[in-house]
């Protein structure tokens, strides 16, 4: 299929965009990656996602689909002949969706909050929240993987993608805060899973490098500081 039939509006640093890239890779779909310039939004983006004006947006045969989880579902359903991303059992599907929602609504906001924390107390509290969340996810990993390498079993699935997309940023947070969040002792399952996930064929070429994210985070933090009115 011609790659110009599938376009992805995104940015290299966005974990949400990464989800879509991994899903497309799993299905071996060729696509055109149109990167948005940081700080501005293209006409195509504003047209394709007028409600939120956010990336990622998948454009398939000129039809736009927004919201990363929704896009991943779409990819799984349209390219049905490729390896499955969502579990086939409805209960396992519900479980995977539950944890993906938890990660989006609760866990990731704690992680991304660390860099924006005002003061040491706030920063420590958020780090603790991230760690507590990882304990829950370690437990979920045990139940979902049932001894296999990934949440999805033998190969990476929806929940692996939903969580694994944040590994670059997680490692950046570890580097910037001098902490180990995924820990061989505290979260051994996740530690092994993270290594396998980042080495996976569908992931390794598109996962952003930790150092690059650290530098990008510093740029973001500086911009944020500059935008706060000084007393």
């Amino acid at each position: 299929m011609a790659s110009n039939n599938v376009k992805l509006l995104g940015a290299w640093a966005s974990p949400f965009v990464l989800r879509v890239r991994i899903a497309l890779n799993i299905k071996s779909v060729n696509y055109e990656f149109l990167q948005e310039t940081f700080g501005s939004k293209s006409q195509l983006l504003l047209q394709s996602n007028p409600v939120y004006k956010k990336i990622p947006v998948l454009i398939h045969a000129d039809k736009p689909i927004s919201e990363s989880s929704i896009i991943v579902h779409y990819i799984d359903e349209v390219w049905a002949s490729g390896p499955s991303i969502l579990p086939s059992d409805p209960y396992h599907r519900a479980t995977a969706r539950f944890w993906a929602t938890y990660i989006d609504d609760k866990w990731f906001p704690s992680l991304s909050g660390i860099a924006r924390a005002q003061g040491e107390e706030a920063r420590k509290a958020l780090i603790q929240q991230v760690e507590e969340g990882l304990e829950l996810l370690e437990d979920a990993f045990g139940k979902c993987s049932k001894g296999k390498a990934f949440f999805g079993g033998e190969s990476i699935g929806f929940l692996d993608i939903a969580f694994g997309c944040f590994l670059g940023w997680l490692r950046a947070a570890e580097a910037m805060n001098g902490v180990k969040l995924i820990h061989e002792a505290k979260t051994p399952g996740l530690a092994k899973w993270a290594e396998k996930f980042t080495a996976d064929g569908a992931v390794k070429e598109v996962l952003p490098e930790t150092q690059r994210l650290v530098e990008f985070s510093k740029v973001l933090q500086a911009k944020m500081r500059d935008s706060i009115p000084k007393p």
């Binding site: 039809k63 689909i65 929704i70 209960y91 969706r97």
Partner: protein, 219 residues
């Protein structure tokens, strides 16, 4: 083997109502358990240890939490009648997008209308009314968001209608005046049995919320 279905719920919860409607649409018999949220049952704490929230659908002893996830689960398991999600992948993505929009936007602004005052409340009211207009645009000329029949977005959105007397009283507006198409859609939904029997009376919700506001010291 007969299915055992239990719903842990709280009668005024729009999220609980979504699951009630979905189960009714599919003709599923289930046990309804109303929770006292100030004194959560051991069953609730066991079935939803992460969030400790309702609704929780329990199917043959296994919990499904989060209303959007539960409604999709119901649609997938009992797929012999009343499909809620479209069969076309793009239409499905579209329906999921709008259901997510309702959760991201409408719920939050609605909540702010009844829990805040002054400028914050005014801002929330404006955003809320803007949301209704966006949703009217999405509905277009269709009878329901699902087309000719009740669909996923209808099920996700209609429960908030039972809270409209609250929003209107506290926000000081008339939805009929601001978004008549929305009201026409809501009334069409209420003519459907599964919806009518799943939504509490608006006045009951109104009285309940006024009581809560007194408790929170908002009056």
């Amino acid at each position: 083997m007969a299915d055992e279905v239990v719903l842990l719920d709280f009668w005024p919860s729009p999220f609980g109502m979504r699951v009630r409607i979905a189960l009714a649409e599919k003709g599923i018999k289930y046990e309804y358990k109303d929770e006292d949220l100030r004194n959560k049952s051991p069953l609730l704490l066991q079935m939803n240890p992460v969030h400790k929230k309702i609704p929780v659908l329990i199917h043959n002893g296994k919990p499904i939490c989060e209303s959007l996830i539960a409604v999709q689960y119901i649609d997938e398991i009992w797929n012999d009648k009343a499909p809620l999600l479209p069969s076309d992948a793009y239409q499905r993505a579209h329906a999921r997008f709008w259901a997510d929009y309702v959760d991201k936007k409408l719920y939050d602004y609605g909540r702010k209308i009844w829990t805040t005052k002054g400028e914050e409340q005014e801002a929330a009211k404006k955003e809320f009314l803007d949301c209704l207009k966006v949703l009217e645009g999405e509905l277009g000329d269709k009878l329901y968001f699902g087309g000719d029949n009740l669909g996923f977005v209808d099920v996700v959105l209609i429960p908030f209608y039972s809270w409209f007397s609250v929003y209107e009283a506290l926000g000081n507006f008339s939805t009929e005046a601001e978004s008549p198409k929305f009201i026409a859609w809501a009334k069409r939904c209420l003519e459907i049995e599964s919806v009518a029997k799943s939504l509490p009376d608006q006045h009951k919700v109104h009285d309940f919320v006024m009581l809560m506001r007194k408790k929170f010291g908002l009056d």
